[in-house]
């Protein structure tokens, strides 16, 4: 048995488990038992390399980490016998993620993938709860607010409001009871930053909440979390009970006069509940509909009491800032956007996953250096940021830095951190339709422009995607989009038109192709496509005909197969199964 290995880590966040990490961990334990190895198998959160899941880290005595990626159950014995027993690295399973991590700066994610999220000891061994202890023993609430103000931290949920300023409003508000709410209702499709933080380092968020509570004078806190995140809820619940037991939450924390406790509220699936006043309505047990502001939650929030709401990532920054000082945090980033931002990278990139970058890094650097570029070396078309509230940044603006103001100037937003990379196989009209379909269904219905306006815009987009668009639709879309923005009460309606407004600006040609030429250049919008078998390439093998679900394909007398357009449902299966690439997808007027 090798004495040189200190521990073995398995990434057991939702993404890892979905990729089969649970089975790998079980197999590891069996293999350890069979080889009489008594090393701990440590459960860790997401280290960010989702593209290599399941991941197994072997940490040697000096702290050197060897990472194995795409580990299958069948690979486990080999890793154990060769690396742990014989002390050799299994080169063919090893992944070397240097380029992925080189340019990242880890503040929020400093513990993710490193510590066991279910162990309070491990969090404390990495200076966990020292920020809270030092603040309670040596800082006034005003000092804490001042540090956060000086750090330049802005809300990471998407809007980018200065956090310290927000705290000062709630601190100034008068009331016998005050609340701190952690917004973990991560609703943007394509975003999983908050889930990863809660699954990988839950105590950090609780410590951040306790610091916020101390700063504003709150005694009660809520974590409002999506019910779709069962593992994050479970780990938070464990963290809560461990923290209470260690008197890090509860009465007279660290022997001071400060008392604070937290409850978990599981959301029930409503995107609009990410909005502060809707979230409060939901905690109170009502339909999650926003209300007019002012009064702002800082003065009249949960049950009418002063309430401060911050996003998970915002709160996860706080312990680090209090521990290392405002200057250390502000050393990263740009003039107006300090610190780091966590992004969930997905779409057509080679390395999808969770990253944390210093503000100011260009989108180009993220896509090409960290994410390894586009799959199959296809051309980059656009980067979608900020989910349904955000916009599409075209490839021509790929040098835009990640900075609240610079991104806003493009029409997109930093957003909560979803970053979907799109290549030339993506239809931008379809992307706009997709997001509008989302916001239209998630609109709570309170404001007319949001309820009806999004519906009318969606209908226009659906017509365009179906090849029935009219030339004036484009102007109508923009005009109505601006009205929806101006006449909606909350962020949902105010930002819902953004995906349309950015795509009509940057990809106008693509809209025009759909409307004037009845063509979908990316070959996505089915009504605009025609499947055709090229007689010269067809070898008459019949695979397409057998694969066709609607029997639209038959052998022609000429020794090749033909597709009956009237029957074809454009599912694309013939194109997938054809071994000779004889199936062509045509679009444009010829198809009409």
């Amino acid at each position: 048995m090798s004495g040189a290995v200190r521990e073995v880590r398995v990434g057991l966040a939702t993404c890892g488990i979905a990729a089969g990490a649970q089975r790998v961990a079980r197999q590891l334990q069996e293999s350890f038992d069979a080889n009489r190895i008594e090393l701990p198998i440590k459960r860790v959160g997401c280290v960010g390399m989702c593209y290599n899941e399941p991941l197994v880290d072997v940490v040697d005595a000096s702290g050197e980490i060897t990472t194995y990626g795409h580990v299958a159950e069948a690979d486990v014995d080999r890793i154990v016998e060769r690396h742990l027993v014989a002390g050799e690295i299994v080169e063919d399973l090893r992944v070397t993620p240097e380029a992925f991590f080189r340019d990242q700066v880890r503040i929020v994610l400093e513990n993710c993938g490193v510590i066991d999220p279910e162990s309070l000891e491990e969090y404390r061994a990495r200076a966990g709860y020292t920020a809270l202890e030092n603040a309670l023993n040596g800082m006034t609430p005003e000092d804490v607010i001042e540090v956060v103000k000086e750090s330049g931290l802005r809300g990471r949920g998407g809007a980018g409001f200065p956090t310290g300023l927000k705290w000062s409003f709630a601190a100034r508000a008068t009331g016998s009871e005050k609340y701190v709410i952690c917004n973990a209702d991560e609703g943007d499709p394509g975003a999983f930053m908050d889930r990863s933080v809660l699954e990988g380092d839950p105590h950090r968020v609780l410590e951040g909440m306790a610091l916020a509570a101390y700063a504003i004078g709150a005694t009660h806190g809520y974590v409002y979390i999506r019910a779709e995140y069962p593992l994050a809820i479970r780990r938070l619940e464990m963290a809560l009970s461990d923290a209470r037991e260690a008197n890090l939450l509860g009465d007279r924390i660290f022997g001071t006069d400060f008392s604070f406790d937290v409850r978990i509220k599981a959301g029930a699936g409503a995107f609009v509940c990410g909005e502060e006043t809707a979230l409060i309505a939901s905690i109170e047990g009502r339909r999650g509909m926003p209300r007019k502001r002012p009064p702002y939650p800082a003065n009249s929030g949960l049950w009418g009491h002063p309430t401060n709401i911050n996003n998970v990532e915002t709160l996860a920054n706080i312990p680090w800032i209090v521990r290392n000082g405002a200057e250390a945090f502000a050393a990263h980033g740009t003039e107006t956007s300090k610190g780091t931002k966590v992004f969930a990278l997905a779409g057509r990139v080679r390395n999808s996953g969770l990253i944390e970058i210093p503000m100011g890094m260009s989108i180009r650097q993220i896509v090409y250096d960290i994410a390894g570029g586009i799959q199959n070396d296809r051309p980059l078309k656009a980067v979608q940021m900020g989910g349904p509230s955000g916009g599409c940044i075209p490839a021509s603006l790929v040098d835009t830095p990640v900075d609240y103001e610079a991104l806003k100037a493009t029409g997109a937003i930093v957003g909560s951190g979803g970053m979907i990379v799109l290549d030339d196989s993506t239809c931008m009209v379809d992307v706009a339709r997709f997001f509008l379909d989302f916001t239209q269904k998630e609109s709570c219905g309170k404001c007319t422009f949001c309820r009806v306006g999004t519906k009318r815009m969606l209908e226009m987009l659906e017509r365009i995607c179906a090849g029935e668009g009219e030339p004036e639709d484009l102007d109508k879309l923009v005009a109505l989009g601006n009205k929806v923005k101006a006449n909606s009460l909350c962020g949902l309606g105010q930002t819902a038109p953004n995906p349309i407004l950015t795509t009509t600006e940057y990809f106008r040609d693509e809209y025009l192709a759909h409307i004037e030429d009845r063509a979908c250049p990316a070959r996505v919008c089915k009504p605009l496509l025609r499947f055709h078998i090229e007689p010269d390439a067809c070898k008459n093998c019949g695979l397409c005909a057998r694969g066709c679900p609607v029997e639209a394909i038959a052998a022609d007398e000429g020794g090749y197969h033909v597709i009956d357009d009237a029957v074809c449902v454009k599912c694309g299966r013939c194109e997938q199964v054809c071994p000779f690439d004889a199936v062509e997808i045509q679009t444009g007027k010829v198809a009409a």
């Binding site: 939702t14 989702c50 499709p189 975003a191 509220k265 029930a268 699936g269 339909r287 979803g418 979907i420």
Partner: protein, 161 residues
Amino acid sequence: MSILSQSKEGVHAERERVSLPHTSDSIIPLLQQIQEKEGFVSEEAVDRVARYTRAPASAVYGVATFYSQFRLKRPGKHMIRVCEGTACHVLGSDAVLDRLTEELGVDVGGTTADGLFTLESVRCLGCCSLAPAVMIDDETYGQVTGDSIAKILEPYRKDAS
């Protein structure tokens, strides 16, 4: 071996232990508990929650219909959730959904005649790097295609026969 037991019992046990107050903020947690146990929220359950929280049944019904988590019809034995998040959408979740509606003969939201499957689409399962993703009960499947989904369903069907 504690690391390997990812059971959700812990969550539920923790929640059940806390007895919920008879106030309106208990409406959502109660509906969640009921759906967890009974699979859906029946008309009778709405009345039960209304009595417990001393809220009008119309308010409870309003909450149950507002939030997408709550089902008002009895679901099938296995719940298939097709992720319709952005990453899944651009990587072809539509084809997966089309294939499923074809295979199962039901539309989104429907339950197969034999009561074996309910087909749902969800906003985002949060495992975008595995897109397109499908969740069946508590198991997540990544990089699903129209063809692979049929194979994924097989064991669930065998299990039933």
